[in-house]
Amino acid sequence: MNWHKIYGLSLRHVYLIKGSFPRILDLIYWPSIQVFLWGFISEFFTLSSSYYSNTVGVILTAAILYDFLFRSSISYNMMFLEEIWSRNFTNLFIAPIKISEIIAALTMTAIFRTLIGLVPAVLLAIPLFGVSIFKLGFPLIFLLIALYIFGISLGLLVTAGLLRFGPSFENIAWASLFFLAPLGCIYYPVEILPNTLQIIAKGLPLVHIFEEMRNILINQTVNNLEIFKSILISFVYFAFGVIVFYTAYYGAKIKGTLINIGE
């Protein structure tokens, strides 16, 4: 991989964000709104639910982590969509850049976009609701890694769809994470789900991530195996995403969509 090229492609997205105040505002706005919304819901649940009675902020922490996943995936999709919307797609694919370098550049730049939104939201939650995701301690890093890898994997699958089917796949890009949210057990324990769905849910890293988050906050213990499982499963999805993306790329070359996508 050529890091200069990866940097060059990342720079394209950094310049785009830097030069557009509405884009920065948009990145910050939604995570901050989430903090307000779930902050108040969290406070209400803390008062009304015995499950959460001794643990302030479980729901808000879950909301922030879920937003991190959502933003990383959407950031990835958005950067790809920006190329389609700006009709720059062909220029990109005739440049001497490998698919692996495009994936690397998008993956690296997505974290930049995600953090622009997430950092203010995390910092807002501390004074407003007395909730800090940093209470998760050192395991937080690994949970964020698992979420990010999974978010990028979903981004890869959606962008593969955009490559293969063109801009009409855009709506799927926006809806992709909502499909998985019910099975992710973000706000409730996995036991709530019917048995069959529990089996499917455990095939997603989200269950392991959010169960572990609750375990750390409620029981004050760390289950390293769950964290390891969440990262491992995320990497399996990532590998799958890369394969699907490459397949879509070669399919798009056969279909001829790389030269007229967006038209």
């Binding site: 940097y7 492609l9 394209r12 310049y15 062909t90």
Partner: protein
Amino acid sequence: MNIEVRNLTKKFKNYLAVNNINFTLESGKTLGLLGPNGCGKTTSIGMMLGVITPSGGEVLINDQNVNSANHNDLLSKMNFASPYIELPKKLTVSQNLEVYGRLYGVKDLKNRIIEISDDLNLNNFLNKQTGELSSGQKNRVSLAKSLINKPDILFLDEPTASLDPDIGDFVREYIEIYKSKNQITILLASHNMKEVERLCDTVIMMKEGQIVDRGTCKELVNKHGRNNLEDTFLQIARNKNELA
């Protein structure tokens, strides 16, 4: 660098976009690819650039298949400009040139941007967003992007479409000068016959995915007994029996 196209064919489902075309473009020469809309010019260029997989045949760049393992090495020596594809609109001209300079691995990029900006008179709007430019300015920026890596092979798809005569002439003159200075191989798809007569050494006429005629502009005009290339083009495009 030379291009050799052998039995190149592209079929999209039941539609035969390019039907077994063959030609060679020698290093340093300019070839005009002419034909009515939908005759397969852009698809052929797409296959030569490696972004469309041929259904049959092959494209050889300096005897190497464009879809071979060193695809990226070949791409770094080629470039493409078309008014139908654009650069990111929210980036300034200078940012766009920097990004593409990096993607093409251009050495001494800062000086290359200064050089190409001087050549194509981009300095007055180098820090303006590309989306805010007039079509003439955008066109020159697109040309600058296509020359940022000093390509050995340049693909131009209607480079002066929608330009006023003055800017169109500026672009044609620039390509002419650049070509003579750099011995670049150019494949030009155009509907502007005067442009083709001015810039191209040889011409290929395409129709319904096939090559129906080829030669120098003069040869084609004489062969079809017309006064100029435009009339020749019209005759070939309208003659239903040409493919027989």
